[in-house]
């Protein structure tokens, strides 16, 4: 009985993560502009990773009969590295698009 409940919750979390990843990929392919395409991968890197980490913690804790929580570290590492990467990439893209002289990019606040 308990096994079925734990495995069902794990299955639900895994499916949610898969759906989040799929939605993120679809968004990345379908959105028209780069600054819009930057947003969807965050869905996989936050919700997707946390769902899998929770599922893994739940399943291994149940399997081992004691708390096995180390998957949490993966989610925390991603929570640190992902915003850094995204911010750097956004700045790089903005810089490059300004260099190219694209019209639909906001101008520098310092005044060109």
């Amino acid at each position: 009985m308990t096994t079925a409940v734990v495995e069902a919750v794990t299955a639900l979390l895994l499916c949610a993560s898969g759906a989040a990843s799929l939605v993120a990929a679809l968004g990345m392919v379908r959105l028209p502009r780069f600054f819009q395409r930057m947003h969807p991968p965050a869905l996989a890197a936050t919700f997707g990773v946390w769902a899998v980490a929770l599922a893994s913690m739940l399943y291994f804790s149940f399997l081992g009969g004691m708390p096995v929580l180390h998957t949490w570290v993966v989610a925390c590492v991603l929570a640190v590295t992902m915003p850094l990467t995204t911010l750097l990439l956004a700045r790089a893209a903005l810089f490059r698009k300004r260099q190219e002289g694209t019209v639909d990019v906001p101008a520098s606040l310092r005044g060109s």
């Binding site: 895994l14 898969g18 990843s21 799929l22 993120a24 990929a25 392919v29 291994f60 590492v77 640190v80």
Partner: protein, 92 residues
């Protein structure tokens, strides 16, 4: 392992595979270098997730270290690529 969980694992891995295929499309298509870096970033996150799910499938705690290494190395490499796009060199 109940059939529910094994089916969910199969469905999740399929979803990851489709997502990775879409990311590869974005990686090859472009149009800009930023798009390619973004797609690569998404690919390594998905690969790491697939590894964690396989760890649940085979009830193995060994994949955790591999997933952690992918998370750290992928984050650093994406940051380096973004820095390269910004400056033209990764380390100044």
């Amino acid at each position: 392992m109940t059939p529910v969980l094994s089916f969910a694992i199969f469905a999740t891995l399929t979803a990851y595979a489709v997502a990775m295929a879409l990311a590869v499309y974005r990686l090859l298509r472009g149009p800009g270098a930023e798009d390619r870096v973004l797609a690569l970033d998404f690919l390594y996150v998905n690969g790491m997730l697939a590894l964690l799910v396989l760890g649940i499938r085979y009830a193995s705690g060994m994949v955790f270290e591999a997933a952690l290494v992918i998370a750290i190395a992928g984050g650093v490499s994406s940051a380096a690529l973004a820095k390269f796009l910004l400056r033209g060199e990764a380390i100044e």
